[in-house]
């Protein structure tokens, strides 16, 4: 349901950007904003990747790990879920150097956002694993599989389908949170917009373009996740309609 609507919205958003770009009042800002958008996309992609890795690892550690790992994963999840992303960003960027660890701003952005969203993601992964029918575990046990084999071959492929929609939400959350990185010296889309606004006071064209660009990015993400979901659930339900 709705993929066509989403694609329609995306086309409309891009068309409006295209039309506005023909006007000088708008086209003036486009190159700078696009530059910022590229950085935003880079941070969002790498952050999402880290979030998935952390989410899966933390969920598995909490569910099946030995006590120390379980403990570590719980501490990670609670800290990164229980404090704001902005504070995490500042802590990694401004506080850590006081202890002699200076990280590049881009790295801090990816780390903070990825770890933050990964903490939420671990709950998504856990819920999806628990949603797989118990009989699947039992059948795998009766075939004498090890727990790692069951997870990898039987449980996770089925849990994957259930994970896609909630991960889509988290990715959009992460995309929007990238605006925070303008506060640690990175020239992302939000930073470029503020900078241009301060210099020119052309608030309407600048923030109209920025709004459309964020919208277009999140629509691309949503459409991508919908397609992935459709494909993955096809594999599970093949022939059910036949």
């Amino acid at each position: 349901m709705g993929i066509r609507t989403l694609v329609g919205m995306l086309v409309a958003a891009l068309a409006v950007i295209g039309v506005l770009a023909t006007q000088e009042a708008y086209s003036l800002f486009l190159p700078g904003l696009l530059q910022g958008a590229v950085l935003t996309i880079e941070i969002a992609l790498l952050g999402s990747l880290l979030a998935v890795v952390m989410g899966v690892l933390a969920a598995l550690a909490r569910m099946y790990g030995p006590a120390p790992l379980r403990w570590l994963a719980t501490v990670y999840v609670e800290i990164f879920r229980g404090t704001s992303a902005l504070v995490q960003l500042f802590w990694l960027f401004f506080v850590l150097p006081q202890f002699g660890v200076s990280l590049d701003a881009f790295l801090v952005a990816v780390l903070a956002l990825g770890l933050n969203v990964g903490a939420y993601g671990s709950e998504v992964v856990r819920g999806a694993i628990q949603s797989v029918a118990r009989g699947q575990w039992e059948a795998a046990t009766a075939l004498n599989m090890s727990r790692a084999q069951m997870l990898r071959r039987i449980i996770l492929p089925q849990a994957f389908v259930a994970m896609i929609p909630p991960w889509g939400n988290l990715f959009i959350e992460l995309l929007k949170s990238t605006a925070l990185v303008s506060l640690i010296t990175l020239s992302d889309l939000a930073f470029k917009a503020q900078q241009m606004n301060q210099n020119t006071f052309k608030t309407i064209p600048i923030f109209t373009l920025v709004l459309l660009m964020y919208l277009a990015m999140s629509l691309v993400l949503t459409i991508g996740m919908r397609l992935l979901e459709r494909r993955a659930s096809l594999g599970l339900a093949r022939g059910r309609a036949a």
Binding site: G135, L143, N144
Partner: protein, 259 residues
């Protein structure tokens, strides 16, 4: 020296909190023997299979398979609870078919049958596929290799599940009410496969069933469970023909009236 029993339950008990599901069960099953377990629901009969498949832990006693403990292992001359490596070593001799089939929905019939032989036994894909093809042929599904479970009827799914279990070359096969979830017209095709298995393979079989006619014709021995204990057991002719125990008589009368 007498031959080791294939399976031996020695004083096995299973409790859930205050509820005792099995109470000091002693049961021996000989190599190649076909044993049916009958009884009212809640009598602990399914629990017997689930404990043997290690899907349930036990609270007391020891389960032995071919003279080796399954639930325990020897350490310094004593029996201690088994670790997962020991359990997997012994469990390899046992296969199980479930009431609700439990096929892997993201895999074709063929993939269901070669998954564990490849990942667990380390078989080469080509060998595993050849064996799976034979087994699917044997259960009458040679033409359905590429079908997903959702494309198969209940009876067909259950036959794939039987082939999948056999692909691991078990010595003992457990059947847990394998026809209970099937439409009546599909029961026969599954029972026919089990009959065939009984004839052609030297398998030890333990089945929980509500199909009294099948239990009578197929088993070497029938055990009637009641309230966590074996109430009466014997050759099917005796148990069905002239049950001695009053509970058995009641149960059989009720089942016959319903059927």
């Amino acid at each position: 020296m007498t031959e080791q029993p294939m399976v031996r339950f020695e004083n096995v008990s299973k409790r859930y909190g205050a509820l005792t599901v099995l109470d000091g069960l002693d049961l021996e099953i000989k190599r190649g023997e076909k044993v049916s377990v009958i009884g009212p629901s809640g009598s602990g009969k399914t629990t017997v299979l689930r404990m043997l498949m290690t899907l349930e832990t036990i609270n007391d006693g020891v389960i032995w398979v071919e003279g080796e403990p399954l639930t325990h292992m020897h350490r310094n001359g004593k029996l201690v609870p088994a670790d997962i490596n020991h359990i997997r070593k012994i469990r390899a001799k046992i296969g199980m078919v479930f009431q609700s089939f439990n096929l892997f929905p993201h895999m074709t019939a063929m993939a269901n049958c070669i998954e564990a032989p490849i990942t667990v036994l380390g078989m080469k894909r080509a060998d595993a596929e050849a064996r799976a093809a034979d087994l699917l042929e044997m259960v009458g599904l040679g033409q359905k290799k590429g079908h997903y479970p959702s494309q198969l009827s209940g009876g067909q799914q259950q036959r794939v599940a039987i082939a999948r279990a056999l692909a691991m070359r078990p010595k003992i096969m457990l059947f847990d009410e394998v026809t209970s979830a099937l439409d009546p017209e599909l029961v026969g095709e599954v029972l026919e496969v089990i009959r065939k298995l009984g004839r052609e393979h030297d398998l030890t079989m333990l089945m929980v069933t509500h199909q009294m006619g099948f239990a009578k014709e197929f088993s070497d021995r029938v055990c009637f469970f009641h309230a966590g204990k074996i109430c009466e057991q014997g050759p099917p002719k005796e148990l069905f023909g002239a049950p001695k125990n009053e509970r058995t008589q009641q149960f059989l009368r009720a089942v016959l009236e319903a059927g």
